[in-house]
């Protein structure tokens, strides 16, 4: 199993992919194999991972680099990372896990109607028995995967899933539009996991991608049962009541403050974007009627019929351009903003869970302070809890940095795309009106010439 990362330094020839065996790495500066770029991995993470991944190595936490993932080609920050970036883009085959979600189908049974999606995986990784998989999954399966990942990595940022229902009433439940929006979000969800340095190697993830329907069902039934899961939740709630805030490192308080503001702002942005979409749609609806009136008018005119038809044609072109602009919004800005609204909730949750883990340690420490005896027993337990806290903190810190880089990338590219959309819209409209104007002034010149002739 190898861990890959993007780090500065001279690029090394790529090691063999998919094979077993770890990659030796220096402490500083680490050499990274250009590959599916993910953030750096940390020793602490080893505890949370399965046995197979014991020989993961640690790279230094150089988080100044922008991340390259499947959705946001980033702006390189340092010249050497630029080299790495181009190398990555030149050799797409270095990415070793490709996932698509498509082909929604409804299955009607005696009990219910449910929608399944086709999940296609292509991979060159050794731990996969085959290089191609095709399975069908329903929304519940995705929910299961997400909860398994949260369980395994309580302080990692698990990507958001599209919501169960859309209350807003903009889209009818299970309409084609709803299903397509959900499909795209599910596709994104799986790819975000695939790009995550830790989550990509998660066993449940692998099973999700590869198991046949019956295999998945039987696997789901294993593992901690519902009651024990509920027990965990109860303990978690209880410990959250107790604290974890008191001894919270400054860094995480900052993160909390940041997330509170970010969450507010992203929600407002989401509303603004929807409102803009709505206004553009209403504008489009009126424009549809506006053009044809000029054509109607031209029918009762002679001299100005051509001018009127010209105006009608311009308005129709602008109308089509508006439609494209709207499509751009709904394909790009709206889903991204929505995803980050969900992300903000996830991040608040992750910060809380970290606090809970801290809370467990704090309460044990407080308990020890009161009991002078049984120190030895407690100290081992406390030692374990201290490790747990350190792991959680490190995992979160690294993932937080990675998330921030991605967020910056995503926002930059999304809003740039919005600007480009608008530019394209105005350029199309400009071209239409300018060519109309040219045709009119040509006519004027022709008229003037004909007047000059005796």
């Amino acid at each position: 199993m190898e861990a890959e990362g993007r780090v500065p330094g001279p690029p090394l020839p790529p090691p063999s992919l998919g094979g077993g065996g770890g990659v030796e790495a220096d402490a500083d500066p680490p050499a990274g194999a250009p590959g599916a770029a993910r953030g750096p991995l940390l020793a602490a993470e080893v505890l949370a991972l399965d046995d197979e991944e014991d020989d993961l190595e640690v790279f230094s936490k150089d988080t100044s680099l922008a991340e390259v993932n499947s959705f946001s080609p980033s702006m390189p920050i340092s010249p050497s990372s630029m080299i790495n970036q181009y190398k990555f883009e030149d050799e797409p085959e270095l990415r070793d896990l490709f996932i698509t979600v498509d082909d929604p189908e409804s299955h009607i049974t005696a009990i219910e109607t449910c929608i399944t999606y086709r999940v296609v995986t292509k991979t060159s990784r050794g731990e996969f028995d085959s290089s191609e998989y095709e399975v069908r999954r329903r929304y519940q399966d995705f929910l299961w995967l997400k909860s398994k990942l949260e369980e395994a990595h309580p302080t990692l940022i698990i990507p958001p899933l599209p919501e169960k229902f859309i209350m807003k009433g903009m889209v009818e439940r299970f309409s084609d539009e709803f299903i397509e929006t959900r499909r795209k979000a599910l596709h994104k969800f799986l790819n975000r996991i695939a790009d995550h340095p830790t989550l990509t190697f998660n066993e449940d993830f692998k099973i999700f991608l590869t198991a046949q329907a019956w295999e998945l069902s039987s696997h789901k039934k294993q593992g901690p049962g519902l009651l024990s899961r509920m027990g965990q939740t109860v303990r978690a709630v209880a410990s959250s009541v107790r604290g974890g805030v008191k001894n919270r490192p400054e860094m995480f308080t900052e993160m909390n403050n940041y997330m509170e503001t970010f969450s507010q702002k992203i929600n407002v942005l989401d509303k603004i974007a929807h409102r803009i979409y709505k206004e553009e749609r209403e504008y489009f609806n009126e424009m549809k009627e506006y053009g044809p009136i000029h054509t109607l008018w031209s029918a009762s005119e002679e001299d100005i019929a051509d001018s009127l038809k010209g105006v009608a044609s311009c308005i129709d072109k602008c109308c089509k351009a508006t439609e494209k602009r709207m499509a751009g919004l709904s394909e790009n800005l709206l889903p991204i903003l929505h995803e980050y609204v969900l992300y903000s909730e996830i991040l608040m949750g992750v910060l809380k869970r970290r606090d809970q883990i801290q809370g467990e340690l704090d309460s044990k420490v407080d308990a020890l302070a009161n009991k002078k005896t049984e120190k030895d027993l407690f100290s081992e337990e406390i030692g374990k809890l201290e490790d747990k806290v350190e792991c959680a903190n490190n995992a979160l810190k690294a993932d937080w940095d990675r998330w921030k880089q991605n967020m910056q990338c995503d926002m930059r590219s999304t809003f740039t795309n919005v600007a480009e959309n608008n530019l394209r819209y105005y350029e199309e409209c400009l071209a239409a009106w300018e060519s109309f104007l040219a045709s009119q002034t040509v006519d004027l010149h022709v008229e003037e010439d004909s007047e000059d002739r005796p």
């Binding site: 803009i276 740039t416 530019l423 819209y425």
Partner: protein
């Protein structure tokens, strides 16, 4: 009550005869403009008289005030009234009118002067009954077509203005919502280190974008006003057709009346009753009238017939003159309309181009800011 300052036009002074000392400016109320126009319509029925701007704001989109006292509306009305006077002043026939000249030059007593012309008596009250139909047996095809055209023009322009107002409303909404970005970006930039500058400056450009719509739509109102003028011109055009229709109707009635009188005369002279008449029946029942009585009747009828024939002759002449001069003015109007509307459409295109260019500039700037985030 609002009054308007009217400035005298040198061009008009040199054309018309008036001896009064030119007054540089005086006050006129909207109702005086209306009186002037009524006078001109009645006095020159064959002319397509320029219309006044609307009395009440119509075809408003929501941000535009429907309040007559709103300063923007008042200003646009002022421009409209100025335009009206310019139209009259540049009309080959109307500019010669003395009442018009006095309107521009004589402050006091103008109203009385107009009323003294007695033009109200000439006004045909039937013209006010817009929907009444007069069955004309031999309608002039050209006028019928023209009337249809004026109806179509009125209908299509009012439809266009209504939709344009709705489009303006929606466009306003799109631009203004973008203004919300500015504040949010600014607040967001406060918690970001690397993205902060890009967000902040992009937000500023969004504010510029949102603000730009106000000027754009104000300019478009002038375009709407140009179309409105021709909406009202359509009415003036129809009025001319109506007048002709009534003239034709009167002519036909007069001709009909003359024919029946001639027939009566003939019957009395020859003693044959071709048409049923109550008198004829009563005279049959109660005895024939004396030859003297019959002679008297015939004489009266012959007088009436002569009168009628003269009237018919003059009516025919009047009709022909009307048709000739009306068509001259209609041709003039058509050329003016084609020229003005074409120019208006071109100016609309120019406005759209300017709006697009502004949009391109703002979004180019915004794109640069975003790409630096």
């Amino acid at each position: 009550m609002l009054k308007f300052v009217v400035l005298s036009f040198r061009a008009v002074e040199s054309q018309s005869e008036g001896q009064c000392a030119p007054v540089d400016s005086l006050w006129r109320r909207y109702s005086e403009f209306e009186l002037l126009r009524n006078y001109l319509s009645v006095t020159y029925p064959h002319i397509v008289v320029p219309p006044l701007p609307e009395k009440r704001a119509e075809f408003v989109w929501h941000k535009l005030s429907a309040d007559n006292m709103d300063p923007d509306f008042v200003e646009r009305r002022r421009i409209g009234l100025e335009n009206f006077l310019l139209r009259v002043a540049s009309h080959p026939v109307l500019c010669q009118d003395k009442i018009f000249y006095s309107f521009l030059t004589q402050e006091g007593g103008w109203k009385e002067m107009v009323n003294e012309t007695g033009f109200q008596l000439k006004a045909d009250s039937r013209l006010k009954a817009l929907n009444a139909t007069f069955r004309v047996k031999n309608p002039d095809k050209r006028f019928t077509e023209l009337k249809h055209y004026s109806d179509e023009l009125q209908s299509v322009i009012s439809h266009l203005l209504r939709v344009r107002a709705r489009v303006a409303d929606r466009l306003y909404g799109v631009y203004k919502v973008h203004g919300n970005y500015g504040r949010v970006f600014s607040e967001w930039s406060a918690i970001e280190k690397e993205m902060g500058d890009g967000l902040q400056s992009a937000g500023h450009h969004m504010d510029v974008y949102a603000a730009s719509i106000d000027d754009i739509l104000e300019e478009e109102e002038h375009y709407a006003d140009q179309l409105k003028e021709y909406l009202f011109y359509a009415e003036a055009l129809r009025a001319v057709c109506r007048k002709h229709e009534l003239m034709q109707y009167d002519l036909e009635m007069a001709a009909q009346d003359l024919t029946s009188k001639k027939q009566q005369c003939e019957e009395l002279a020859t003693g044959t009753v071709r048409t049923f008449s109550l008198k004829g029946m009563t005279s049959k029942l109660f005895g024939q009238e004396t030859p003297e009585q019959r002679e008297a009747k015939i004489k009266v009828l012959e007088e009436q017939i002569q009168e009628g024939e003269e009237q018919l002759k003059s009516k025919n002449l009047e009709g022909r003159d009307f048709v000739k001069s009306a068509w001259a003015d209609i041709e003039r109007f058509k050329e003016q309309k084609n020229h003005d509307l074409k120019e208006a459409l071109i100016s609309y295109a120019v406005m759209q181009i300017s709006m697009c260019k502004k949009g391109i500039q703002v979004w180019t700037n915004a794109k640069e800011c975003f790409s630096k985030m």
